[in-house]
Amino acid sequence: MKVMVLYSSSDFPLSAVAGAIYLKQISHDKDSIVKLCNSTLTETYRSYTDGRFQYLGENQQGTWVVAFSCRSGKVMLKNLIETFLEMYSIDSSHCRVVEIKTPGSILFLMGELLSKLPPAWGRHMQEKYIGIIYPRLVETVKLDCNFQISDN
């Protein structure tokens, strides 16, 4: 089984949004973003922090996609995953870890702020925010996940 682990250093679940893009679950229209917020982000995005894995789905090739947020400790994370897989003799090519880089300092701070707001208050702004960062995340997913997706 192959697994793609996406993580970001933002408290806002950027990695989950990138995972949804990778899985073609959302496009740049408002409806799909609202649907994503309804289905995944609103209730669970707080549980993405501090290394808690969230299963997002499976692509056509059968690769599982999971996402989490981790504010710091990237070196530790890389070592931890590598040695854990070695420990259980799991082929490291079966687990690909991708960092979703934060899209600029202002947008990063906006995401941090939004992640602090209660879901009921920040919901509309979260949708707007996802709309703003969507093109950047598409580029990141294209580059880092080595996966061709349409721009629609």
Partner: protein
């Protein structure tokens, strides 16, 4: 079972606990300075090795003993290991995370920072070793707890279980 001792740096308290577990350090007395500094991997861990689970040996129950430094992020360690084991269908009872950071005293912290962070081994190592000798009984008690759990195959008393679970939330019992 894989028993993973973890602490802030993975250089002193976890290494000492692992060596006590493996029988490389005495259980009936506090070891001498040379015994502590001469143990495998004591005060050797580097910052870039954070998160690496290092195999220390196999105990007489057949358990593999590991040490890992996880900075001040025990939750990250527990959550990532838990997440990976869920994905790869690894039994959570096949490993045990033991947090030995409560056994670390101020002297060990000072010595550890001097030796590992600042590279001042000459003053840092004696200080951290002195601190380890002072808290050796606490480390021994922590290892004894682990031994009692392995040996008896039953959960510890409610208060001990609660404390243990607070520090290592991913551990499950039979």
């Amino acid at each position: 079972m894989k028993i993973i001792y973890h602490c802030y740096g993975g250089a002193h308290s976890s290494v000492t606990a692992a060596n006590i577990h493996l029988g490389n350090l005495p259980r009936d007395r506090v070891p001498r300075y040379e015994e502590l500094t001469g143990q495998y991997l004591f005060d050797r861990h580097k910052v870039k090795d954070t998160g690496k689970m290092i195999f220390m040996g196999r105990d007489h129950f057949g358990n593999d003993i590991y040490v890992v430094g996880r900075r001040s992020r025990p939750n990250l360690l527990c959550n990532v290991i838990s997440g990976l084991s869920e994905i790869f269908l690894i039994d959570k009872k096949s490993y045990m995370l033991v947090d030995v950071s409560p056994c670390v005293n101020f002297t060990m912290k000072v010595g550890g920072v001097l030796s590992r962070r600042m590279g001042l081994i000459t003053p840092g190592r004696p200080i951290v070793t002195w601190g380890t000798r002072r808290n050796y009984k606490k480390l021994l008690a922590e290892v004894e707890k682990v031994f009692s759990w392995i040996d008896q195959k039953i959960p510890p008393g409610k208060d001990r279980q609660k404390n243990f679970l607070l520090r290592s939330p991913e551990v499950e019992y039979n």
